[in-house]
């Protein structure tokens, strides 16, 4: 177990964390400010990936796919918000879960109807297809480095948005006390639409960045949705800072668990038992982490509500 391997796995964990952050930031804002449990967040990630895959295939340009997919998915998100989600703001979380779960089924079927049941082929840009030896002896895929770069840039931009702009002030206020913000005369519907649109774009960006490395298939949103909720709960609902910290934590715990638990357990048990047991433990790791954090901080690491 060389230190270089540990370093590489830490980098992998960071990259997974950054990917989760793109999804979690949008979800935590929607949950914190609009008090809306939106399970269809994962479906919008899938729609973003599919649109980008189609455009990239047709034009041969990944960047064009990205530039088309973001506004196109935002448009889909706005339609969904107007038609379905607007009726749910006043209802309790269980109703929202039921309704948005129905949206998941709807999106899965719609995507199957439009694109067929088969996974789509998507490749990243050719100038990112090589590997960079940022750790000596380890060629790290350039595209994954790009994901880290994009994610950290988004984190920076969101930080600037939330702390330095008027919209950001409204977002922080809304996450803290929604009723007061509405009572102070802010157009809460417009704020909601803007926040939701931002969340959808982040999910779509996540989907487009995921397309070249993961399978672009129907149902791809559900896997990442569960991990995203774990991140949001750990980080604290409504907090973008919590989403970043939570995402990096989850990414690291999951990756390092998968990477080193088998080796660790083999020291105590036989290889076959260790392999199977460590696989089960590694897949439970992030939930054990979530439970541990909730015991220590029941509202998450950085809860927005004062």
């Amino acid at each position: 177990m060389s230190p270089l391997l540990i370093l590489e796995q830490v980098l992998n964990g960071l990259q997974l964390g950054v990917m989760l952050f793109l999804m979690a930031a949008g979800l935590t804002l929607v949950l914190g400010i609009m008090n809306l449990v939106n399970l269809s967040h994962g479906s919008l990630y899938m729609v973003g990936a599919f649109i980008a895959a189609t455009v990239t295939r047709a034009t041969g340009s990944f960047v064009l796919g990205l530039l088309v997919a973001l506004p196109a998915t935002a448009l889909v998100g706005i339609v969904v918000e107007r038609v379905a989600l607007r009726r749910l703001y006043a209802r309790d979380h269980l109703d929202q879960v039921l309704a948005t779960f129905g949206l998941i089924l709807f999106f899965n079927e719609a995507v199957t109807m439009i694109w067929g049941p088969r996974p789509l082929y998507m490749d990243g840009p050719s100038w990112l297809s090589g590997a960079v030896e940022i750790i000596p002896g380890v060629p790290y895929p350039a595209f994954r480095l790009a994901i880290i770069a994009v994610g950290l840039t988004v984190a920076m931009l969101l930080y600037l948005l939330v702390t330095r702009t008027r919209l950001g002030m409204l977002i922080r206020a809304g996450a803290s006390n929604r009723e007061m913000v509405a009572a102070l005369g802010v157009d809460i519907n417009r704020l909601y639409t803007l926040v939701f649109g931002l969340g959808v774009m982040l999910a779509a960006l996540g989907g487009v960045m995921a397309g070249p490395i993961y399978a672009v298939e129907v149902g791809m949103g559900e896997v990442i949705l569960i991990q995203t909720f774990v991140v949001v709960v750990i980080g604290g609902i409504g907090s973008v800072r919590g989403a970043l910290v939570g995402a990096i934590l989850v990414g690291l715990v999951d990756t390092l668990g998968r990477a080193f638990l088998p080796g660790l357990l083999t020291l105590f048990l036989g290889p076959a038992t260790a392999a199977s047991l460590s696989a089960s433990l590694a897949s439970m790791a992030i939930y054990i982490l979530m439970a541990a954090i909730l015991v220590w901080r029941p509202r998450g690491l950085f809860p927005a509500h004062g």
Binding site: P119, P141, Y214, A215, E217, G219, A279
Partner: protein
């Protein structure tokens, strides 16, 4: 007055039924038609339906009706559909399940009720050995078969330090067990991943650090697509040779992975270039009907339909003659697209297993047979079956 009209109407409807109209035999198909992994179920259904349409709505001369329902890869849903098919629709022949965990949940329950189940895919070891049944037939393979073939081939080719990987579920465990049964070298590593996992960066890094001379993996569907893409991006394609069963390299996956899969060697009981009239007709008709090349799943669905057809012909469509139907199924008197085919004592196939390589034909990525791994291979659990 109204009740009299209704009575007259009903009498009229009854009289209008043509005399001697035979009820088509209903075949219940529970398979995955939506969500992740749906491409497999859709191929099975399409292959099965092709056989029916080739005979103009019949199998073995007996009119049939295919009732296909979506299980969404969920065992509870599959069980619920099965119960409904038996109780409400009185279906006596079932087929279709893709996933081994669903098969383990459903098959023993339905065969206990006297239903005949012909598996076009899932062949868990649990149902091949001590758990075998007189009403359960598997027309595809026993789960371990394709992995055993790869273990055999890899050993023959002289690889001595192989890294193996599969998801942590019954078929994944069967896969690695099957590979290890015939592979005689050392293992550089044995890893179980999460079912449905998308990010393999950690596993690929660990793999590279272990410095194996070959990699064997079983990651069906979307998992295989993700892994192959990431393997290529990590610069390992061409450096460490990759082996696997056909499930990781079927037509659907190849189309979605692209050139990252070129040169990979995989094992299969069927390929489109097997030279016999039944296969030639199947591949041509499938392409004409659906506009795409068939995968091995489609060939399995097709053979399941032909097998059922041969048995229906033998009993003249009367499945209440359970012993006759069972004997006819066991005889497997049909022209399989694989060529020779017969059943072992546990109702699992005895067949040849081939080795194929991913090549490019024109613009399309597909597979080509390069060797035969096993001839007349049964399975490792037949002896445990006490039927």
């Amino acid at each position: 007055m109204k009740s009299r009209l209704i009575a007259l109407g009903m009498a009229g409807a009854l009289l209008a039924t043509p005399a001697g109209a035979a009820e088509p035999v209903k075949i219940g198909m529970i398979t995955t038609l939506s969500g992740g992994g749906s491409a497999l179920g859709i191929d099975i259904r399409d292959g099965f339906a092709l056989a029916i349409s080739q005979e103009g709505g019949s199998l073995g001369g007996v009119p049939v009706e295919l009732v296909a329902e979506d299980d969404g890869r969920k065992p509870e849903k599959a069980t619920e559909i099965a119960n409904r098919m038996i109780k409400r629709d009185k279906i006596g022949i079932m087929t279709g399940i893709v996933w081994s965990n669903l098969a383990i949940a459903v098959v023993p329950k339905v065969t206990a009720k006297g239903v005949f189940y012909i598996s076009p895919n899932a062949g868990p070891s649990k149902l091949a050995g001590a758990g075998c049944g007189t009403n359960y037939f598997n027309v595809a393979w026993q789960n371990d078969n394709l992995h055993e073939a790869m273990g055999q081939y890899v050993t023959e080719k002289g690889y001595k330090n192989v890294y193996i990987m599969a998801p942590n579920y019954p078929a994944g465990k069967d896969a690695l067990k099957g590979f290890k049964r015939f592979y005689k070298g050392d293992l550089a590593g044995e890893t179980y991943t999460k079912l449905g996992q998308t990010d393999y960066a950690a596993e690929i890094a660990a793999l590279r650090a272990a410095k194996p001379d070959a990699v064997f993996f079983f990651l069906p569907g979307g998992m295989g697509i993700s892994f192959l893409k990431q393997y290529a991006q990590a610069g390992l394609t061409g450096k460490i040779p990759v082996f696997g069963p056909a499930f990781s390299f079927d037509q659907t996956i190849l189309a979605a992975v692209g050139d990252a899969a070129l040169g990979v060697i995989n094992s299969s009981q069927w390929n489109k270039d097997i030279d016999n009239p039944a296969n030639a007709a199947f591949v041509a008709d499938f392409q004409k009907a659906y506009g795409r090349l068939p995968s091995l799943y489609a060939s399995q669905g097709y053979d399941a339909a032909r097998l059922i057809g041969s048995a229906l012909k033998a009993v003249g469509g009367d499945i209440s003659n359970a012993d006759g139907f069972r004997a006819a199924l066991k005889k497997a008197d049909f022209a399989s697209v694989r060529g020779k085919f017969s059943f072992g004592p546990n109702n699992h196939p005895i067949q040849d297993i081939y080795v194929r390589q991913v090549v490019k034909e024109g613009d399309t990525l597909t597979n080509k047979i390069i060797a035969t791994a096993f001839t007349d291979r049964a399975d490792a659990y037949a002896a445990e079956c006490k039927m």
